[in-house]
Symmetry: C2
Subunit: 307 residues, 2 copies
């Protein structure tokens, strides 16, 4: 999918995994190579998502990595960096930087340290960021991931944000894993240009049939081509079979801790063992786990062409 | 309590609430005044804790506030700043800065974005920070607050950290609200110089009787003198009555959202309405809620002498 200036970002995006050097510093060259490969597979760059270990990176580290992609000529119209932090000032800084870089939008976690906060408090959080960045071109994609953030984005909150900031509140990534919630968001807001991205390709076909915009999925780091193909051909007669094949790979990945498993697969198929490194508190797969993962993927003829 | 150079910090500490100006920037002058008042009440400064809204501050904002206290001549031997962030690099930076400032120790949250992480991953997180800071004088107080961070510090993790870093792992703040856990930690490690601070004065007397080091409590922001007095006189005949009076104030505060309630009380008794401001996602008490809080505290003859 090519990007059209000013058109909203759509389709399949990957929360790009972040490679680390032996000293655990972000490896911008491996990162750039992986981003180029994803773009070549028609997958956009939701850099600095949950599966990017973005919350294990400082704001400066995120800024440096994004600048490296831009400097290398990658198209910011294909980028939706994660910018939502615990601290208001960090979120404002990262969002303003992404805007300045020309990114298609930003994926914004709610502030996630304090639990049981009110929708009023969350509304003010998002409102402060939007008002401080102060740019009508800003497109915010709300990031609903209650299993990890533990702070949900509710339907009443979406409604209030859309009413207050119709130019800026562009959509949502729903990583709740609950299709009923995704469907409720689609039914309530999908008709008004609010773009709904399920957080897994498991819901890609169902999402497209219900008016969704694509998906933003961890597994798009390793299986980008087939996922992007289903998005492009979701009305084709073989769409359900395509979905089944995607689900098979997804189920294998979900049998392991996702982030180390993604990196182990890239390390294996990219013949680059250094890719396996993760930052604490995550732990890389053991050699035995990695062999188990690779064996199970090989058994379903999994490939990473061109990596 | 006066500080003795090189002696471990003990007694009652307050996670100092952070005042904000109208534009939500940290108000270093109000902060300094409140810190001075707490010290005058024999309460130490656990700045940048949960109740300080520290996770709503950027690393730069924390550094500037700490520098302001040091520049004003406040004694770093009475300080235990919170330095644990989601990002390894932020935690290392804040911890090294606190060490350089001469702080008695640091209170370290585990990285708290990823949930369900292993003790192995948490061990590596703390180990990386301790090794990167690389100073035998560093004293780390582990911060166990599962209701908020959702990432616990288990007994096996403490044991492993103590074994690997006996000079650096100095104690724990247990904000789990579960006395059985605090007691288990005291029984397992209290005899070996590991300082256990319950996270509420509710457990101050029980903690002292079981070999605890004091407490680190939100309510010490508003009721510091009486809490510090119980710590100093816990073996006195009226200790149980003192504990009951502390519990009465604590129970009133817990009837409201704690952080806005602390600030509302300081705004009222300090005759300084600007103190009430909080950063999103928190929301200040309404005027009616603040009146309710003040009325209930007045009904038990609550005071903030010298504020």
């Amino acid at each position: 999918m090519s990007a059209v200036k000013g058109q909203r970002i759509q389709g399949v995006l990957s929360p790009v995994v972040t490679p680390f050097r032996d000293d655990l510093s972000p490896d911008s060259e491996r990162f750039l190579r992986h981003c180029r490969w994803l773009l070549s597979q028609n997958v956009g760059l939701a850099v600095f998502g949950t599966n990017s270990e973005a919350n294990s990176l400082s704001a400066d580290e995120r800024i440096e990595l994004l600048d490296r992609l831009i400097a290398a000529g990658l198209d910011p119209d294909r980028m939706m960096p994660g910018t939502g932090c615990c601290a208001l000032t960090d979120t404002v800084r990262l969002t303003a930087h992404a805007m300045k870089a020309g990114c298609a939008g930003v994926l914004m976690l709610p502030p996630f340290y304090y639990k049981g906060v009110s929708d009023e408090g969350l509304f003010r959080s998002f409102a402060e960021v939007i008002e401080r960045v102060g740019d009508r071109r800003l497109r915010v994609y709300l990031y609903h991931i209650p299993p990890v953030a533990q702070v949900p984005i509710t339907l009443p909150l979406i409604e209030r944000l859309l009413k207050a900031f119709p130019d800026n509140v562009a959509g949502i990534k729903d990583s709740g894993g609950d299709w009923a919630n995704t469907k409720a968001v689609l039914d309530a807001f999908g008709h008004s240009g609010f773009d709904v991205f399920p957080g897994s390709e498991t819901f890609l076909l169902a999402g497209m049939r219900a008016g969704g915009a694509g998906c933003i999925s961890a597994t798009a780091n390793v299986n980008p081509g087939p996922i992007a193909r289903l998005h492009a051909t979701w009305q084709a007669p073989d769409a359900d079979q395509q979905q089944q094949r995607l689900d098979t790979v997804r189920a294998i990945m979900q049998g392991f801790v996702m982030i180390p498993a993604l990196k182990a697969a890239i390390a294996h198929w990219g013949r680059d063992p250094g890719w396996a490194a993760v930052r604490p508190p995550l732990v890389a797969l053991t050699a035995a786990q990695a062999r188990d993962l690779v064996g199970k993927l090989q058994a379903v003829a999994f490939q990473m062409p061109g990596l």
